[in-house]
Amino acid sequence: MIYSKEEILETIRMIAMENLDIRTVTLGISLLDCADPDPERLLLKVRDKICRTGRQLVPSARRLERKYGIPIVHLRLAVTPLAVLLASPLAVLGAQEGASFCCQLARQLDRSCQDMGIDLIGGYSALVQGGMTASDRLLIESIPTVLSSTTCLCASVQVATSARGINMDAVQMMGGIVKELALGTPSGSGCARLVVLCNAPDNIPFMAGAFHGFGNAETAVNIGISGPGVIRSALRSKEGLRLDELAEEIKKRAFKITRVGELIGKEMAAAIGSRLGGVDFSLAPTFKVGDSVAEILEAMGLERVGAPGSTAALALLTNAVKMGGAMATSAVGGYSGAFIPVSEDAGMVAAAACGALSLEKLEAMTSVCSVGLDMVAIPGDTPAETISGLIADEMAIGVMNHKATGVRLIPVPGKKAGERVDFGGLFGSAIVMPVSAFSCAGFVRRGGSFPPAIHSLRN
């Protein structure tokens, strides 16, 4: 036989018992050709393009699932950052009409996705690291209303890059937007669909930060794979291994799971007449037992995530995943590291519940993995300035270290530190984490901009 029994059964075991799956196929679609100063025409063009381009996504994914025996869990769309598309109609509409048009477009996108059986759509986005246009501002101001009246739409705002520094006026604004959005949705759950970004890649398959960036072709297929369970099981029987040997095991597994992403990405692109944008091989946990990044770190020898050594263990994991993953795909995309979203990872929730994991330790860990303070529930009475301060810290980590960082905080209305909150479905449940009571309002209210990282001046 051209494959050994062990090879065939290893693949089957990874899928059936270790939760290996394609977490998401995200189809990026440019909407630039839909620009129109006439609001009605713009709506029609957008609806037509989304339906024309997106309708093959679901049936093609179902065929590939069957052909390769691998589940494809989520199907998503990512569109051109909509602040750009809105610039022209918003210039002719007044502020009030403009805000209502934003909602109209958002609800139409939401409905189009639901009609096609697509799970989420990203791109209600503005890139404001260097300043804000009028349409950027209107879009950002509309986020609480728009996300409260939709279910599939995801929003993101890039407020910082290493080259431009941090737009602190935008950071200040986002603290208030996050608070307002939390108040408008049950348990603040709408905040799960809003992320504040630094150095955002323009081909992310994961939400809430996916958008179809400006350097892309008309469409692109971006793949997110998921394999925390596969890595966890590789470490299960490896008690006596030294760390370099452990890294070697992780690397081999990361290679194999990324190859599945590469295969599905190429086949999906061919099936729908698109191209493979990128494979994001980030380890993406789910709330299922055995599908947790925290459990991997604990299998390395930590009593609980958050213990001293957690940042080092996570760095070793992320680095080994990158070594294996980068060789496995011709198009490394998105974040490609490891996610530690608190509410989506049962091990992270358990660590927060027993006091092992603090917000401050989590922040340190985000300097060596994908994204940042992700899906963290905080007390509902956290002041907007404090949320802005948490955003600013995470943006500074991104700017100074040339990495993507993001903040997805959920100030849960009426909840105090230590209480449990359930967001439902994919977004899991969480323990409300305590936030420092000391104020940063004086710093945040200064506004202005945080100059670029000096090591960006390479020219």
């Binding site: 036989m1 051209i2 494959y3 029994k5 090879e7 065939i8 059964l9 290893e10 693949t11 089957i12 065929r63 069957r66 052909k67 390769y68 025996g69 691998i70 194999k256 190859r259 599945v260 590469e262 295969l263």
Partner: protein
């Protein structure tokens, strides 16, 4: 003669008389040739791996899979058919 297109069929469950015959019948009816076959006992469970050529298959991949699933239900075993490319990608550089 057209180029081969291979798929891997894995059968898992309790061994019983007629298992190979049942699966072979579904394959033969659809003009799918068995290229290789091996059996193994894995943690007390029987597993059989078949490498088959589907290039002349009369029906689509989905329909063949459906026919195998039906047969699997009749025989009380779990059957998984996967196109060979997934194994190439994962296990060959």
């Amino acid at each position: 003669m057209s180029a081969k297109e291979l798929a891997v069929i894995t059968v898992m469950g309790r061994d019983r008389p007629g298992l190979v015959a049942g699966i072979s019948r579904v394959l033969a009816e659809n003009e799918v040739n068995i290229e290789d076959i091996s059996q193994t006992i894995l943690q007390d469970m029987f597993s059989m791996i078949l490498m088959v050529d589907i290039s002349s298959c009369k029906v689509s991949f989905e329909d063949l899979d459906e026919a195998l699933q039906q047969e699997g239900r009749r025989l009380g075993v779990k059957i998984l058919m996967q196109h060979k490319k997934i194994f190439d990608f994962m296990h060959r550089i």
